[in-house]
């Protein structure tokens, strides 16, 4: 994969639900090879942007392409992007082994050996129903299924919000390993900054449906007087009058 490719390009992208713009005039180029942290307060439009990127939603304005120009939701885009939605929805009454079977059947590529080895490492029994797993195990199963698809871009929507600190750490370690070892680009949203600081190399800050800040974290920190990513993000959020009003 060429590192100069953009895994996501949004051009004046907008999404309206009823009369409210959840995302507006969003223009972004996310280069490949990064772990991109998409941060912002609740209701900032993070989920909307991710839904548009994975093709679950259609734009109301502008456009979005992925993996070097494929329209979001197109067959090539679906093939190359693995998405783990918020609260990691899985078929609760289907066994882990059947979730593997279903995911393998629905995708061109699926690394069965990888999936099985990882679930064994995690101590997730294949005959257990997905709904009977702990929250952390469900998140790990969803992530394993996503990574076994060998995606070029992994999209995670608030992946750790519901997890306890240990499960959170394990989950992020897996993401980090996939990004480091295999060069999978990652786009993950969160409103918890502390977990991202260690992992992310690129930052997109959303507030009120608009992009406030985007860039490599090293560059952003070097250019600002703020000592940490968290301080930097907070300073931008505080500059937004609408956010103060919330």
């Amino acid at each position: 994969m060429s590192m100069s490719m953009n895994v996501l390009e949004a051009n004046a992208l907008g999404k309206r639900y009823g009369g409210t713009w959840a995302l507006r005039e969003c223009s972004l180029q996310l280069p490949a090879g990064h772990v991109v942290a998409l941060i912002g307060p609740n209701g900032a439009g993070k989920t909307t942007l991710l839904n548009l990127a994975v093709g679950l939603a259609a734009p109301s304005a502008g456009g979005v392409t992925v993996l070097g120009g494929a329209p979001a939701g197109s067959p090539a885009a679906l093939d190359g992007i693995a998405f783990v939605a918020q609260d990691t929805p899985l078929y609760k009454n289907v066994t882990v082994a059947d979730m593997i079977y279903i995911t393998r059947s629905l995708n061109r590529r699926f690394d069965q050996a990888y999936a099985q080895a990882r679930l064994e490492d995690l101590g997730i029994p294949p005959r257990r129903k997905a709904g009977k797993l702990s929250g952390g195990q469900q998140a790990q199963l969803a992530l394993t299924l996503a990574l076994a698809r060998r995606p070029r871009l992994l999209v995670l929507d608030e992946p750790v919000a519901m997890l306890d600190p240990i499960a959170r750490h394990d989950f992020m370690a897996t993401v980090q390993a996939a990004a480091a070892a295999d060069g999978v680009s990652v786009l993950l949203s969160s409103h918890v900054l502390t977990e991202l600081q260690r992992v992310a190399s690129y930052l997109v800050l959303l507030a009120c449906g608009q992009v406030r800040l985007a860039g490599r974290i090293d560059d952003l920190l070097a250019a600002s007087s703020q000592p940490s990513l968290e301080e930097l993000a907070l300073s931008y959020l505080r500059e937004t009058p609408a956010e103060v009003a919330r």
């Binding site: 994969m1 490719m5 999404k15 839904n51 994975v54 093709g55 679950l56 939603a57 259609a58 993996l67 070097g68 494929a70 067959p75 090539a76 679906l78 093939d79 190359g80 992007i81 693995a82 998405f83 939605a85 918020q86 609260d87 929805p89 899985l90 078929y91 609760k92 009454n93 289907v94 059947d98 079977y101 279903i102 995911t103 059947s105 629905l106 995708n107 061109r108 590529r109 690394d111 050996a113 990888y114 080895a117 990882r118 490492d121 969803a142 990574l147 076994a148 698809r149 060998r150 995606p151 070029r152 370690a173 897996t174 390993a177 996939a178 070892a181 295999d182 060069g183 999978v184």
Partner: protein, 355 residues
């Protein structure tokens, strides 16, 4: 922990066609085996029950029609035995709930559960693509319930056969028109057709309402409304009814309306009651009051004959029994067309649905 994944080359995506449809076979089985096995078990149990009670029904029927001399006490007993069997099945109403039950409980949760639990976010972002995923599920499961219902209707056809035999009437054996509102729906075309329609209504309701229980309730309501409208108003219009002044309609005919005229003037019900009552009374022979009911049918027939000899005309608007199969195919045909339309609409909704 090492993630041993290897990113695909971009060029790979451009040259490959879509994933083969057959991949959905195992997926559908793993996700819906409970529903599919449930449908098979329900219909299987009902078929076994029908076979057991049907065997005695056929047996009793054979005894009733073979009995000689007709009208002897022994033959009366045989006829009464047959007539008294399985009255709760003979009107067909209990069996009518099967299509809507199967169609609703397979069709309504199909998409409603995905929407309710959020699993569509997993499914619709897999490489198979959500449009093809939806079509595969709707077509395969719709076909499965239709075929199951079609097979079951063969058992139904066998069970009800004795009631439809022309000639029952002469032997005082119960004879039912296959057009009976509870029985026409159980035909070899219509039973499968209504099952498919219930499935398609359920699937669309599930996609529109996005919650399982309200979708099931809506499906039952819409289905009941449609079945009522068809049975009560629409079905009799499939072909223009025939009108006759003849008095010898077979029991298989579907009588839609009857009225009297004299000198070209239609007579009201009230008028005819006044005209007929004294004549009818004269036709009943002098028998003990306990036996009067045995002669009522005959007396009514004589009354009608008497009146037609005296300038009255008795009109009947009806669908002849020979139209049973055309009507089956007409109803099955539009139910299929409706189902295809609803399934297409559901697939279209899935495609344009914004998360």
């Amino acid at each position: 922990m090492t993630a041993q994944t290897r990113p695909a080359e971009p060029a790979e995506d451009m040259t490959l066609g879509p994933l083969p449809w057959r991949r959905m076979g195992g997926v559908i089985w793993r996700q819906h085996r409970f529903a599919l096995v449930g449908v098979a078990a329900l219909l299987g149990a009902a078929a076994v029950y029908l076979w057991i009670v049907g065997s005695s029904l056929h047996h009793a029927y054979a005894a009733a029609v073979a009995c000689r001399p007709v009208g002897s006490p022994a033959c009366q007993d045989a006829v009464n035995t047959f007539n008294g069997l399985d009255n709760f099945l003979s009107n067909g109403l209990i069996v009518q709930v099967l299509p809507v039950l199967i169609g609703t409980f397979v069709g309504a949760p199909l998409l409603a559960r995905e929407m309710e639990t959020g699993t569509f976010r997993y499914t619709w972002t897999q490489g198979f693509g959500r449009r093809r995923w939806t079509l595969a599920k709707l077509v395969a499961l719709g076909l499965a319930v239709t075929v199951a219902a079609g097979l079951f209707s063969l058992v139904l056809g066998w069970y009800y056969q004795p009631y439809f035999s022309t000639g029952n009437y002469a032997l005082a054996v119960v004879e039912l028109s296959p057009f009976n509102s509870g029985l026409f729906d159980l035909g070899r075309v219509t039973f499968a057709g209504w099952t498919l329609a219930a499935f398609a209504i359920g699937a669309l309701a599930g996609m529109l309402i996005r919650r399982v229980v309200p979708a099931i309730a809506a499906t039952l309501a819409v289905y009941a409304g449609l079945a009522f409208a068809v049975g009560g108003f629409l079905r009799e219009q499939y072909l223009t009814p025939l009108v006759t002044t003849g008095l010898n309609l077979t029991g298989s005919a579907w009588v839609l309306g009857q009225w009297w005229t004299k000198s070209g003037v239609t007579l009201s019900q009230a008028t005819m009651v006044q005209v007929m009552d004294p004549i009818f009374a004269r036709q009943i022979p002098a028998v003990p009051s306990n036996d009067v009911h045995l002669f009522k049918q005959q007396a009514l027939a004589s009354t009608v004959q008497y009146l037609t000899r005296h300038g009255y005309t008795y009109w009947t608007r009806y669908q002849p029994g020979s139209r049973f199969w055309p009507f089956q195919w007409i109803e099955g045909g539009w139910l299929l067309a409706l189902s295809v339309l609803l399934i297409g609409g559901t697939a279209w909704l899935v495609r344009r649905r914004a998360a």
